[in-house]
């Protein structure tokens, strides 16, 4: 019962393509989960099924230990879609109140929570402003507040940082950590890998409607490591040739070496120690998620949305 969400063989086909093709995974309670994939991989369709906007063609969703029931479970989910917006002419306070009530909060509950969040993110003076008077970053912040206002168990954020300056991005990031600490689970959909690497505990990579990768960030990196190390020496002799490695790159007094099959990092170190060279630093090079992502996705002809038919 440690999973907030379990997907079993979820499928959603459109006339011309398989948007989500047999996807299964589970998400731990209180974790920050990254859903990655190129444009058109089926992320939005998958998220729309998790939020009850679409019904899957087959497969099932277990939410909080029970079969997902969109009508009643919706209050436990907060969804910030990629295509987001607000009523431009409506006052911000009223807007937040309205959307919170739609989630199922009573008026007084909603009011209390809005006040709490507005105070927390220093938005109190915005109450009577209209959305059209806000900058993009400000409305993004408001959108975030509206998503998490009702303290849902599962928060789904589709590209939450787009359009935010670093200051506000950090503010939101801290809030996401805070929410996770308080027991909320966060699904985080993006194709910005550096953010994923920083924030997420567990990731899934989707491509062409299928799951390509599933695991924790460190596991995946281990899985894709190429046994490369960087070594910094005080000075580099003219010829370096060890049985245990090959030099792949050399810059000033830094070397990049690839350890040969059957050898360990210590064998490399031993070679340099024997040569009586001063090792200033010795690090393993792990591939960045970005590299893994590009490696896996490149060449698969990922369809972008522009080429889909209008049936979606």
């Amino acid at each position: 019962m440690n999973n907030i969400l379990e997907l079993h063989n979820l499928k959603k086909y459109y006339a011309t393509q398989k948007a989500v093709d047999d996807i299964s995974f589970s998400i731990n309670r209180g974790s920050i989960f990254g859903l990655l994939g190129p444009n058109g991989a089926g992320k939005t369709t998958l998220l729309r099924m998790i939020t009850g906007i679409f019904f899957p063609d087959s497969g099932n969703i277990i939410f909080d230990g029970k079969e997902f029931d969109p009508l009643n479970d919706i209050i436990k989910i907060g969804y910030m879609p990629e295509e987001r917006g607000l009523y431009k002419k409506m006052k911000i306070g009223e807007q937040a109140l309205y959307l919170a009530q739609l989630k199922g909060l009573s008026r007084s509950e909603a009011m209390e929570k809005i006040k709490f969040w507005f105070k927390r993110l220093e938005m109190e003076s915005w109450w009577n402003k209209k959305v059209e008077d806000l900058s993009k970053g400000m409305s993004q912040k408001l959108q975030f507040v509206i998503t998490v206002l009702h303290e849902p168990k599962l928060i789904i954020l589709d590209e939450p940082f787009s359009g935010l300056d670093p200051l506000n991005a950090n503010l939101i990031k801290d809030e996401i950590y805070g929410l996770a600490q308080r027991g909320c689970t966060v699904i985080f959909s993006t194709h910005r890998m550096e953010q994923v690497e920083e924030i997420c505990d567990h990731i899934i990579l989707m491509n062409l409607g299928q799951k390509v990768l599933d695991g924790t960030v460190s596991d995946i990196k281990q899985q894709f490591k190429e046994n490369k190390f960087s070594i910094k020496l005080s000075e580099i002799p003219a010829d370096i040739a060890g049985a245990s490695f090959t030099v792949t790159d050399q810059k000033a007094n830094a070397l990049t070496v690839k350890i040969k099959e059957g050898f360990k990092s210590n064998d490399v170190l031993q070679y340099f120690l024997h040569q009586n060279l001063t090792v200033e630093s010795f690090n393993e090079i792990l591939p960045s998620l970005n590299d893994i992502f590009i490696n896996l996705v490149e060449g698969t002809r990922a369809k972008t949305r522009a080429f889909q038919s209008s049936e979606a």
Binding site: I74, I77, R84, L86, Y98, K103
Partner: protein
């Protein structure tokens, strides 16, 4: 259900709280009121009486032209043209009429009328009418028609009495009022369908363009959002109409209070608001009596009830279609135009049938139009105005109502299907064929 109400509440409040709502809702009846007040004020203020000096040198009129209750006063004087001209310039009279001594009733001579200022069309017609009447009388008397015969001819106005099978008296005034009531209420529903239908469409487009649709769809079902919007805007329309009706009638009853000394004169004013006619139908003139009789015979509670039913039925039937179109298009309002065309057609068609139905409420076309749900809201009003069962049988009325409700359920179901796909769809404008496919696919 609760969420539909929440959405409806927002739609309602966000429109009612706008300044433009107040402006149109309160402003329009005020303008009508001020317009009426101004007309009546000026009618009374200009003391009405148009003084005409008559120099009857041929002694044709015997010193008397029957002016009835008119504002035109004929005064017979003996003076030559030069003297008359002088009196005209001194503003003693507004105009003068000279009957030359050689004038004979049977002859082809014409009379000369001269006025100080340009004479208005109405006044000119009245003067002409009075003088022609007087001359006609003289001519007939000259043909040995006795005065008594002449009087009996003038009294006999309604030779045939029309009545329906149920024995109800159907005088001309009643038919005229039915015609007017049918026309006005049919036209009002026509306007409502367009105004509030496009309001729904614009609201849906706004949600789609501002990209809030998906945010809301993640907390309410698309159908709830659509129904909430339709209900909210429908309530705005209903409130607006009720306010208009109350204000228009209320202000017209206020009129005599604002101009207390005006009522005596005002009764002569030809353009009278309908409300006052009903309230002060104590005129001794026969037309007024018949008019008030006709008004009392038109079944207003039934018409009001049916109006509200067909207003709501027609609105719900069409607004969901408008919502579907709004959900399918993107920023470009031009896209909406072409998709709207198939929706507008039956409304315009209904309007055409309606203009026929007010004349002949029982023609096959009118019967069809009043039962077919896409046209019935407009056409049926024209028939109901003629009364039940004279204009429309109870069976037809019931059938039409049932079909309208069924039609509303069908279009709402269909539109809901299109809406839930369209609202989340960005990109190129879909064709009707594609929208049809959305409607009939699962999920």
């Amino acid at each position: 259900m609760n969420k539909i109400l929440l959405v409806a509440r927002r739609e309602f409040l966000s429109r009612v709280q706008k300044k433009t709502f107040l402006l149109t809702t309160i402003g329009l009846p005020l303008i009508i009121f001020i317009f009426y007040a101004a007309i009546i004020y000026f009618q009374v203020k200009s003391t009405g009486n148009y003084r005409v000096a008559v120099a009857d040198n041929a002694h044709i009129f015997n010193g008397k032209i029957d002016a009835k209750n008119d504002e035109i006063v004929f005064q017979f004087i003996t003076a030559d043209t030069a003297q008359l001209q002088k009196k005209l310039e001194a503003n003693e009279y507004d105009g003068y009429l000279v009957v030359p001594a050689s004038f004979s009733i049977g002859g082809k001579d014409s009379l000369m009328f001269r006025s100080a200022k340009a004479t208005g069309l109405m006044t000119r017609e009245k003067i002409e009418d009075r003088i022609n009447k007087a001359l006609e009388e003289k001519k007939l008397l000259g043909l040995n028609v006795s005065k008594a015969q002449l009087d009996s001819l003038q009294d006999q106005k309604e030779l045939i009495k029309f009545s329906s099978a149920s024995g109800k008296d159907e005088n001309n005034a009643k038919v005229g009022i039915s015609y007017a009531v049918g026309m006005i209420s049919g036209f009002l529903i026509y306007i409502i369908l367009f105004i509030y239908g496009t309001m729904v469409m614009r609201g849906v487009m706004e949600e789609k363009v501002s990209r809030i649709a998906e945010v809301i769809i993640s907390s309410v079902k698309p159908f709830q959002l659509m129904m909430g919007k339709i209900t909210g805007i429908g309530a705005v329309g209903l409130i607006q109409f009720l306010i208009w009706i109350v204000l228009v009638f209320g202000l017209q009853f206020l009129l005599p209070l604002i101009f207390p000394n005006l009522m005596g004169h005002a009764q002569h004013v030809p353009i009278q608001p309908a409300g006052m006619q009903a309230a002060h139908a104590v005129q001794n003139s026969g037309v007024m009596e018949k008019l008030s009789l006709g008004l009392s015979e038109v079944n207003f509670p039934l018409i009001t009830g049916c109006f509200i039913f067909y207003f709501l039925g027609g609105y719900f039937l069409y607004s969901s279609l408008f919502a579907a179109v709004g959900s399918a298009v993107n920023e470009d309002p031009q896209d909406a135009q072409s998709l709207l065309f198939p929706i507008m057609m039956p409304i315009i068609f209904a309007m055409v049938i309606m203009t026929k139905a007010v004349n002949d409420p029982n023609s096959p076309l009118a019967v069809f139009g009043s039962i077919f749900p896409l046209t019935s809201p407009i056409v049926m009003m024209a028939r109901i105005a003629h009364g039940v069962p004279e204009g429309v049988t109870y069976f037809q009325l019931a059938l039409s109502m049932v079909l309208l409700v069924l039609g509303f359920l069908a279009t709402t179901w269909l539109a809901g299907k299109i809406y839930r796909v369209g609202i989340l769809m960005y990109g190129k404008k879909p064709s009707w064929k594609e929208m049809f496919k959305w409607a009939f696919r699962k999920n």
